[in-house]
């Protein structure tokens, strides 16, 4: 409401900011006497340019990623085993875990598998589900769509835990099996989400135009449809990654994948929970790392996409433009005002 806003809040409206009005008819169209300065045409180009928007994400990601990458190098040899769930002290500065190992050493060792297996599983799930979901959205033929999606619905109708229980009993343990299993559970979901997101996009006239151009299905699907829903995919992948992390932990109990006492953050969180009240660090530290990792990944995606959108807007953001604008442009087009 206008009255509620102090006028000072709108410096752009102040008369002083107006250029001298043009005398004479505009027919002459002389350039404005005081030509609006091409204020900093390239000073601050894109909204959210530079590394600033990435700062929180990178800060969050740095710790877990560095630990995952370099932790094992600093882990050193295993020290003597202590009593389980000893609180910090006594040479274990984060205490001991459920089998009396040093929590800090486990933390150092436990990042790689988490990051790798979960990332691979999500990657595989997407690799399998994205084409299916896109094809289903693009086919336009019910039969094909049904042929693609209904079998996945069947998989979906089996509770994922049951799938895990049932399949894990038949799998030879190992990281590959784990990736397979976690991907398997995620494929129907991803396919559906992709299909949902692509449904509207696939019906746009651009897609028809591309068909007329003879573009391959692949290129239409990936080059346009998938690209248009990148944000959705990123949002979904970001959360799915977290889900995958803990699925890895769950699966490890069922005898699939990493050993149940593996140095793995997610497994640590799960296994040390019994001691959560006497020795919280065995849970809290890996949980914080996982949280930092996933929050970081999500914020990173957000920032990257925001930046991309800003790039696509491809405009000069003149620093002075706001002051020169006739009306403050909050209405849309002018992302100009948004940092």
């Amino acid at each position: 409401m206008s009255a509620a806003r102090p006028p000072g809040a709108r410096p752009e409206a102040s008369p002083g900011a107006q250029p001298e009005a043009l005398p004479g008819t505009s027919a002459d169209a002389p350039p404005p006497a005081a030509a609006p300065p091409r204020s900093g045409a390239s000073a601050a180009r894109v909204p959210g340019a530079g590394w600033r928007p990435f700062l929180p994400a990178v800060a969050l990601l740095a710790v877990p990623l560095l630990l995952a990458l370099f932790g094992p190098l600093f882990a050193g040899p295993p020290g003597p085993r202590g009593v389980a769930f000893q609180p910090p002290g006594d040479g274990h500065w984060l205490g001991t875990d459920f089998t009396g190992r040093d929590v800090w050493r486990e933390v150092l060792l436990g990042g790689r598998t988490v990051v790798l297996v979960a990332a691979c599983a999500v990657g595989v799930a997407y690799a399998a589900a994205l084409p299916v979901g896109l094809a289903a959205a693009l086919t336009g033929r019910r039969r094909v769509e049904d042929a693609l999606l209904r079998p996945l619905d069947v998989l979906m109708a089996i509770p994922s835990l049951l799938v895990l229980l049932l399949v894990s009993a038949r799998l030879t343990p190992g990281p590959a099996a784990l990736v397979f299993l976690v991907a398997l559970v995620n494929v129907p979901d991803v396919a559906r989400v992709v299909r949902g997101a692509a449904a509207e996009i696939a019906a746009r006239p651009v897609v028809e135009a591309m068909r007329l151009q003879g573009e391959s299905r692949w290129r239409i699907a990936v080059g346009y449809v998938a690209r248009s829903m990148l944000r959705t995919v990123a949002a979904d992948a970001g959360t799915r990654l977290t889900g995958a992390l803990y699925l890895v932990a769950t699966a490890s109990f069922l005898g699939v994948g990493v050993a149940p006492d593996a140095s793995d953050w997610a497994v640590m969180v799960d296994r040390n929970r019994t001691g959560m009240l006497i020795q919280p660090w065995g849970v809290v530290v890996p949980a914080l790392l996982v949280t930092a990792l996933t929050v970081g990944v999500n914020l990173f995606f957000d920032a990257a996409l925001h930046r991309r959108a800003g790039r696509a807007a491809a405009g000069t953001r003149a620093t002075g433009s706001a002051a020169r604008r006739g009306r403050p442009d909050r209405k849309g087009r002018g992302e100009a005002g948004t940092p």
Binding site: G48, P53, R142, D146, P151, D153, V154, M156, A157, I158, P159, S160, L161, L162, L166, A169, R170, D189, R192, V193, V194, R195, G196, A197, A199, E200, A202, A203, R204, S228, M229, T232, A234, A235, D236, G238, T239, T242, G243, L245, Y246, A249, V269, D270, R273, M276, V283, A287, T291, L293, V295, N298, L299, D302, H306, A309, K331, G332, R333, P339
Partner: protein
């Protein structure tokens, strides 16, 4: 009939097929599990003679195909069979577990949908802004905390330290509504994860939608911001979230196992785990039927909504 009704009927028919496929698949997989009900029942006394006796008593010595056929015949008569372990009808098992699960799922969904919409929309309002970041960080952060940890945390802080709510539903049995207070914490834990995935999807769609021409045009009409966001932008942002919501049934049906265990709520999830552990095939099968049907219906509903949200889809040549 209209196209949509055709679509629904066709899908329901397919749904029956799917349910059948689910049932067969579950049967095969359960059969393929190592061990059987007899072995599971024998536990740490796997005396081979005794196991054999149990097996005979359970008719497990008959071929799997025949047991399956018997079960299907029973199903056609509306009989879900009897539990191998207790000999009680499977339907009584399902009836017992369904109540708590439906109650939890219902309450969770009723809170989940508005909450995630509001959060998603609010976050998208100013992409990259402080509110957006705050919402993303909190929801994703909650998502990254495993539910048992969250559950234990809530129980410790709210129930045990604060004494505000009962820590578990022990003793409430199937009648949870008699003590609504016991539901608060389980629902809170159940909500934490889906709220994140849904609101993130809503946010993603909203960011795109808010940058679109039609939203800009809606604003030109002088529509209120809430109207623009919820009535004009949101429907365009919803399709993936709706699909994900459909998938939440899985979560609510069996992902709740931890919640059910932590709070002692004897729902379907618990039933499933126990039935699989006991290799109680008829009970697992009964659950598969229920899960199959629910999934078919929920997926169909989601597809119908998505269909409505992408009306242009029908013109594809």
């Amino acid at each position: 009939m209209t196209g949509l009704a055709h679509f629904a009927v066709r899908r329901l028919a397919l749904g029956l097929l799917q349910t059948a496929a689910v049932v067969v698949l579950v049967f095969v997989l359960t059969e393929a599990l190592p061990g059987d009900a007899a072995v599971a029942l024998a536990g740490d006394q796997p005396d081979p003679a005794r196991v054999e006796a149990i097996r005979q008593a359970m008719r497990l010595d008959e071929p799997a195909a025949q047991r399956f056929a018997d079960w299907v015949l029973g199903l056609l008569r509306g009989d879900l069979g009897t539990s191998l372990v207790s000999g009680r009808p499977v339907s009584s098992y399902l009836a017992g577990g369904l109540g708590p699960t439906l109650l939890l799922a219902g309450i969770t969904l009723a809170l989940l949908v508005p909450l995630s919409l509001v959060l998603g929309v609010a976050a998208a309002g100013r992409e990259g802004g402080p509110l957006d970041r705050a919402i993303s960080t909190v929801t994703v952060g909650l998502y990254a905390v495993p539910e048992f940890a969250l559950g234990i945390l809530l129980i410790t802080v709210v129930a045990l330290r604060g004494g505000l709510l009962p820590p578990t539903a022990v003793g409430a049995g199937g009648d949870l509504l008699a003590q609504p207070a016991v539901l608060v914490l389980p629902v809170a834990v159940l909500l934490a994860r889906p709220v994140c995935s849904l609101s993130r999807l809503v946010r993603a769609g909203m960011v795109e939608a808010l940058a679109s021409d039609y939203v800009r045009h809606a604003r030109r009409q002088g529509l209120g911001e809430a109207r623009v966001r919820y009535a004009h932008a949101l429907p365009n942002a919803l399709a993936p979230a709706v699909q994900q919501l459909a998938r939440t049934t899985d979560w609510l049906l069996c992902g709740v196992i931890v919640v059910e265990a932590l709070f002692v709520i004897p729902g379907l999830g618990t039933l499933l785990v126990e039935a699989v552990a006991a290799r109680d095939v008829p009970v697992v099968q009964g659950l598969a039927v229920v899960f199959g049907l629910v999934t078919v219906v929920v997926n169909l509903a989601a597809d119908l909504v998505v269909h409505r949200l992408a009306p242009r889809g029908e013109v594809v040549a």
